[in-house]
């Protein structure tokens, strides 16, 4: 155990590395750089000793004699062989699974991105084309109204005013639709400005007070994909509070670690049981968690009935993103 000498191996191990027993037995792990890099071994042994039992499901990398790097899921435990301590390593190769997970994640992220792009496109058409045309019609209508004689044009004036009112309603509808699809601010502005806007919109639309807390002067640096999904999730969480929580107040707090940004959305509403399944809240939060997971984020839910809720999104900072 101390010097990493290979004592015994099974056929699967020999086949995996394409070696013969005599290539390994009596040689050390450090000498052969198998199955792991020498630098990793001391910390693993320390961990196994500390656990005082098997250590399971360690995801690690191993290098084949060909030079190819593979990912393995390993278990380690200390056993006695001829009254001497030995380290027993068992593992399965999960390289294909990791690759497929990565492919699925990439595909899902691409779909998400495509959906966001399409929403932005439609939102832009609503604002840049349809709405501008309606503004022009409304102004043109005001010309006609002003051209009516003071006396004798009352009936027409009333009709024109009704048209003006309908156009006002049409403008309000297109504005709201444009915001619902893809608020420009969420795409164009900084992350903090976008959060402040979400808070402001929630107050205006739903009369819920939302306080946003963060350390002054801080810049939140997230990858574009992560940023989009995080903002969408915060928006959804605020809407959930409005719809389900019956809260008077909500709070968005931004916290930082060395590698992550933490966005905590909390309220003083009626809370819920996070373990309950098949409820609208649970379905929605599960989908949110899945979307966030696909871009490397996590979602933690803390809530109790009548105790409010606290939901935390953890997102990796842009320079911390890895494939």
């Amino acid at each position: 155990m101390d010097n990493g000498t290979f004592l015994n191996l099974n056929d699967a191990y020999l086949k995996y590395y394409g070696l013969r027993a005599e290539d390994l037995i009596g040689h050390t792990s450090a000498e052969l750089r198998l199955p792991l890099e020498p630098s990793v071994r001391p910390s693993l042994i320390a961990r196994v000793r500390k656990e005082q039992g098997p250590v399971r499901n360690l995801e690690m990398e191993t290098r084949l004699p060909s030079g190819e790097t593979r990912t393995i899921l390993a278990s380690l435990q200390i056993v006695l062989l001829d009254d001497k301590e030995a380290l027993m390593l068992t593992f399965i190769d999960i390289t294909e699974r990791i690759t497929k997970e990565h492919d699925i994640r990439s595909a899902a992220t691409s779909l998400n991105t495509a959906e966001q792009v399409e929403r932005q496109r439609i939102s832009r058409i609503l604002h840049d084309d349809l709405q501008q045309n309606i503004f022009a019609v409304k102004l043109q209508l005001s010309f006609l109204t002003n051209m009516l004689p003071e006396a004798g044009g009352e009936a027409i004036r009333a009709d024109l005013q009704q048209l003006d009112q309908w156009l006002t309603e049409a403008i309000a509808t297109t504005r709201q639709l444009s915001i619902d699809l893809s608020p420009p601010i969420l795409n164009e502005e900084g992350f903090m400005e976008a959060l402040l806007w979400l808070a402001s919109q929630t107050k205006i639309q739903y009369h819920l007070d939302v306080n946003v807390e963060w350390r002054e002067g801080t810049q939140v640096n997230l990858d574009d994909e992560v940023r989009g999904i995080v903002l969408q999730s915060v928006r959804e969480l605020l809407f959930n509070i409005v719809k389900h929580a019956g809260a008077q107040q909500a709070r968005i707090k931004i916290e930082y670690t060395d590698s992550d940004v933490r966005i905590v959305v909390s309220d003083n509403g009626k809370g819920f049981d996070p373990k309950a399944t098949h409820t609208p809240i649970s379905h929605g939060l599960k989908k949110m968690r899945d979307r966030l997971f696909l871009v490397g984020c996590s979602l933690t839910i803390v809530s109790e009935v009548n105790q409010g809720s606290r939901i935390t999104i953890e997102a990796p900072k842009a320079d911390m993103m890895t494939d």
Binding site: H127, D128, D129, Q131, Q132, N133, F135, A136, K138, L139, Q140, S142, F143, T168, I171, R175, P184, I185, E189, E193, L195, L196, W197, A199, S200, K203, I204, D209, V210, N211, V212, E213, I252
Partner: protein, 135 residues
């Protein structure tokens, strides 16, 4: 006669605004630019008494244009025209140096805004004045 530069990329809306303002009698849209870059070119060619600027423009947006105009032509009032009913844009526009922010919905609001800004006031469409950003 008040000389106005209109910066608006939506041609139909621009045409209606030109008609609206030219009918007032005491003002005239002397030039229309469809982009921020075009507006800067026109400003270098002649003098204007006021600039009306759409927030959403291709390439450089209207707020950035206002910021540039404010630095290059400090005495020239800029008034933002917008379909965006967000106080966020109002705040950004006024910070950039705009003298007002008017929603495109109302002809009376546009005329009122121009006249008040010419008097030296800062004008924001009434619908946006009562909204505050919390947090």
């Amino acid at each position: 006669m008040l000389s106005i530069l209109l910066v608006e990329d939506h041609l139909i809306f621009a045409g209606v605004i030109v008609r609206l303002l030219n009918r007032m009698g005491n003002m005239q849209v002397a030039a229309v630019a469809n982009t921020a870059e075009g507006a800067l070119q026109k400003l270098s060619d002649r003098n204007f008494d006021m600039v009306l600027v759409d927030v959403s423009l291709p390439n450089m947006n209207g707020i950035n244009l206002v910021s540039l105009i404010h630095h290059q032509y400090p005495g020239l009032p800029c008034l933002m025209l917008s379909g965006h009913a967000h106080t966020h844009y109002v705040h950004r526009a006024l910070t950039a140096g705009a003298r007002g922010y008017i929603l495109k919905d109302s002809s009376a609001g546009i005329i009122d805004g121009i006249q008040r800004v010419l008097k030296g006031e800062v004008y924001v469409s009434p619908e946006l004045r009562d909204q505050k950003i919390s947090g």
